[in-house]
Every structure is written in structure tokens, then in C-alpha cells.
Symmetry: C2
Amino acid sequence: MRFETSGRNGYARTGKLTLAHGIVETPAFMPVGTNGAVKMCGHECVKDAGAQIVLSNAFHLYLKPGLDVLREFGGIHNFASWDIPILTDSGGFQIFSLSKNMRVDDEGVDFKSPFDGAVHRFTPEKVMEIQEAIGSDIAMVLDECLAPGNDLESTKKSVKRTTQWANRALESHKRKDQNLFGIIQGGFFEDLRRKSAIEITSMPFDGFGIGGLSVGEDIDTTIKMLDAVLPLMPEDKPKYLMGVGDPVLMLEAIERGVDMMDCVLPTRMGRHGGIFTSMGRINIRASVYEKDPSGLDPECDCKVCQTYSRGYIHHLIKRGESTGMIFATYHNIYFLTNLMKQSRDAIMKGEFDEFKKFVIGKINDKKR
Amino acid sequence: MRFETSGRNGYARTGKLTLAHGIVETPAFMPVGTNGAVKMCGHECVKDAGAQIVLSNAFHLYLKPGLDVLREFGGIHNFASWDIPILTDSGGFQIFSLSKNMRVDDEGVDFKSPFDGAVHRFTPEKVMEIQEAIGSDIAMVLDECLAPGNDLESTKKSVKRTTQWANRALESHKRKDQNLFGIIQGGFFEDLRRKSAIEITSMPFDGFGIGGLSVGEDIDTTIKMLDAVLPLMPEDKPKYLMGVGDPVLMLEAIERGVDMMDCVLPTRMGRHGGIFTSMGRINIRASVYEKDPSGLDPECDCKVCQTYSRGYIHHLIKRGESTGMIFATYHNIYFLTNLMKQSRDAIMKGEFDEFKKFVIGKINDKKR
């Protein structure tokens, strides 16, 4: 991996990440393709909507189709015939949020498969083995994701465990053509966030994720945690804020130096009629859009907004027509990748602060 | 409308249908976009998969979005931003098959909306008004579709009524830029089919549909009914077999002079993993395809078959991933439009008989 930063505007920066399957311009948004495909958006659609990298999930791919099938096909890129940079999340978040009867100790974590209830064990080493079989361009270490609301003591223990696991992941990771990112945790305690950042970034990872945020806390808390860790992170490596796809928070993160983000928001929202617009989110199912001839976002230049009316997509999504969901998903992904592109342009021009204020101003105008 | 036949091979023929929104080469397959969109296939996808005309439904569009919205947008082409020839079925079939508490008399038919139970009345005149508001390139008359298994007496009455309704439709139809097709009924009685064909084709329609077939009867019965009516239909107008999308029956129909067909089969099957192949239908969910590296149909040159493996699409559809359904739908539509293209080529070369035998032979080989 090569990561070169170019423009810089305050802490905000543009860069270029060169991976085995392509180049990613940063700041970058990664649409989520949990099971090896983005919902309601084929591979051409993903590329066409401006995404240069997608996120898939080691936890899900390990369960289905399973390592056996992935190895048979020689990894996710061949299996999915998908020639695009792919980052895999380790599945830590999924185990801790989706699994019932999950049991964690210093060695690893036991969890039950949501498919058949069979017990599986993930260790930092096992998760490396899985991601090496998947062959993603970027692998993430197994981290312990506490539920929000944990106290100082348990969060402290979890930070310690996450550091130990990060060390073990590094030691067991073998594939030289795959990049490995560490993950900073620490709940909502600034001191623990700083401790985790110092420990994790002292290890020779290729980049660093910030995990456990945007899990229900308010935006001021998220920003406080970002302000605690980002200044401690090395400048020569990508900074990846995990699970964030809200435009306002994305701009706040970019301003503070974040390079990469991912989120299910654009795709999940799109399937239910939630639409990003430059005037804030709307739900296209609302009856006010029944006869609206304008595009989903009148200021958007994506091909869906240039072609279809709100009235038509309102009709389709109200009728449960999947093609309406396809249109909404495309626009939502485009909206975020375009926001990243506009951010990169603004950073290059040294105008990121004005750009951010302008975009957030319009969104907040609508809310009033 | 201009309809010019070109090649001819026995009764099979190729032709060109010139409509307000484009040219349709016949024999043609029309994918179904009931609510003004083809499920799991955006407009680009439909065109790319080779369709030159789609079918939408007056019954569904009348209920939602309703004539009010359609008139506001100036018809379906503007509403759906869809610059493709569109044929609308009258909704007769839907009223008789979907509606509870439907009540028919010589004047028209009362039915309850599946949305809110409100009673609506369709008459031949009302259905013309609806389709004129929709602005489809081809409108279909309201016909009475009996359920299979009706006796001679009730079928006789229904043929009489269908003829009377056809007359009324013709008289009330005003839009000169819209073509109107009559529909031949007659259940599974050859005499009644012939009677209906003679009566309907004596009226100055722009083309003729054959309705009430492929509703559960065996293929020999369908063919017997086709053999009863097709020789009575005028050669200078399109012959449209309604609701047929089975490759074998399509070839039998083309051999007998059919020019147009439509069916939900490729799209509905695709969403559940049913795949057309040159060796017959398969269900991609079957575990035998888990590690299969070949395309859905190894002999198909569509972009899905050229790009993705059975193993990958097996995984996606088993996981309920919509993108797998998008891939399967695309292939299935392509398979039928390509079968039409190959049929046209074979007719032009005077080799339709051999082509048909070859295709059906391969499908039947697999069944053994």
C-alpha cells in the first residue's frame, strides 16, 4: 500500500491510497456490501455512483458462503468478480451487536451463528486467517466493541484487551499483499480513547480505524472523541472513522483529518425511501411528493436526479417496487461519494472551512 | 403504427412495428412492468437486456398512482421518464384473477380495490379513458377472462360479451396516436376460439391479442387453441399471445405466426433464483451450484453470464441479497429477448424449423 497525502487545509487533507485493486482518493466514502454485494446496486452501479472502495464483512462471509467456498474461488475478488478495492471489517462489531449468548475472554470470543445456532470461536488469529482467505485489500483487526453505556472500569479492561488482540493480529498476519489496520476503542472516555490511540498507533499497522463511535451517542460526543484521538494518530497513515455516513458528521470528521468512512446509511435508507438531499434528508414516501416533478435532490447531478422525478420514485417506493429502491440507493451512494469529491476539491482549493459551513448551513436551514 | 413483415418461414415471420416511442422487431418479448417499472431492473437495464417494448398494466396504474397523477405528469412516458414503447394490458385479467367480490354484467364489471376495498367500476369505455390518460403506445380492450374450467355455456356467453365490449371500446377510443388491440377469448373450446377470432378480427383494430391462455392448461391444449385461431387472424396486423414466457411454448407460438408475447416469468423467477438456461430451467439456490464457477447459462453471452459465477449468484440469492436478484432478472430477460433475436435470424435464413428443434431438443435432453 502506498498512501500519499497531497492537499491540506487545516487538519483536513486529501490523499491517494494505492491498493492491489485500484486507487482510492481520500477522503473516501465506502458503501457497505456486507455479503459481498451492495444491496440494490450491482457492481457497475457502485462504480458508476462514484465509489472507489467498498466494505465487506469477515463475520458474514465466514458464515456464508464460508472459507471453503471462498478458498475454492481464490478469495472475494474472484468469487464476486469484483475488481475494486475491498476493505473487510473483522466482524468484531457484528459479534458484539448481533450475537446472542456471546462470551468473551482474553483469548477470544465465542458466539452463536444466527443461521443455525452453532457455536463459533473468533480469536485475533482466526480473524486474520479468515481475512487472508477473503483476500481483501485492507483487513481490520478483531477488536472488542463494548455496547454504549459501559462504565470506566469495563471500558478500561476492554481497551487493554483490544491492544493485546491488536498485537496478536499483527503477529499472525502473513499476507504481504494485504494491508492491516488497527482499531482504536475507548468508549466515550477521552482518556481511554487517548490511551487506546497511543497504544494502537505505536504498532506498525498500515492504517488506523476509530471504532465504537456513531452507535447512538449525540454528535457532540462523537466529535469530542474524534478530537481526543485524531491529533495522536500518525499523519503518514490513513485515518478511518468506522460506521459514519451522516453528511454533517462526515464533514466534521474530514475537517479533523479523517480519510475514510463507511456506513450502511445510504443503502439502508434508500430501500425505505430515505433520501439525502442538499437541504437535508427527506422521506420520498411522504404524500407531499406525489406530484413533485423535481429530482430527488434538485441540486444533484447524478443520473437518477437528472432523469426521474420525485413523484415517480414516490410511487415506486410506496408500491414496494424494487426498481424505486435501486434508484434511491444509487442517488444516496452518489450523494456521499460526491460530497467526498467536493470536499477533496475544497481542500485542494484551501476552502474547506467555507464549503463545510455552506453545506451544513443548507442542511440546518431546512431543519428550522 | 406501421407494421411491416419481412422474413417468412412457414407461418413464422419477422416484422417491424413502428410505434410513437420506437421500433419493435418481431417476434418480440415484452418484460412486464406492472406498476410502471420492471422489478429489479431499471430502465437502462431493461434496454440493455434487449427489450424493445415493455408491458404495463392499466388496472394497477389506475389504482396507483391514479389518473390524477398520471394526467399531471402527462402520461406514463413522462411520469416514468421512460422513452420506450409501452403496451398496457386493460386489466381484465387482473380484475378477474385478483379481485374479490368481483361482479360482472353486460355493462361492465365492479371490483374492490385490493388497497382499500373501495368499489370501482370498469367498463370498456372507462378502460379506454384510463389507457388514453396513461398514453401507452398500444392499449388493449377490456375483455372478460373466465377462470379455467368454465363450461361451454358460460364461455359462449363470455365470448359474446367480449365481442360487444370490443365494439364499445373501438367506438369510445379517441387518441389517434395510440394503437388499440382487440382480444380473442373462447376458453378451451376450439369452436368458440374460432368464433371469437372471426368476430374480433372483423373489427378495425390495429392488432390482436390472444387472451386467456397459459393459465394452467397443458401445452398441447394451448397449442390446439393457437392452431384454432392463428389461421383466422389477418396477416397484416400483429398477433400477440398474451402471458406467455416459457421458451418452448414461445417457439411453438412463433412457428405458428405469433409476433408478440409478454410474461412475468423471467422477472418473477429471477427473484426466487429460477434461471433460464439453454439446457432448461435451473434453480440457482440448489446446493450443487455452491462452488460452480460457470455462468448462469454457460452458453449465454449476456454480461451477467460473462461476468459472474453460479457460485456467487447462488450465495447472493440464498442470502436474500437483492443484487443477486438483479443479476438473475437481467439474465432471464436477456435470455428471452435473445431467443427472439435468434428466432428472427433463423426465420430470415429460412431455418426456423431446425432452430426450434435444436433449442427444444437441448431443453428436453436435460429433462431426461
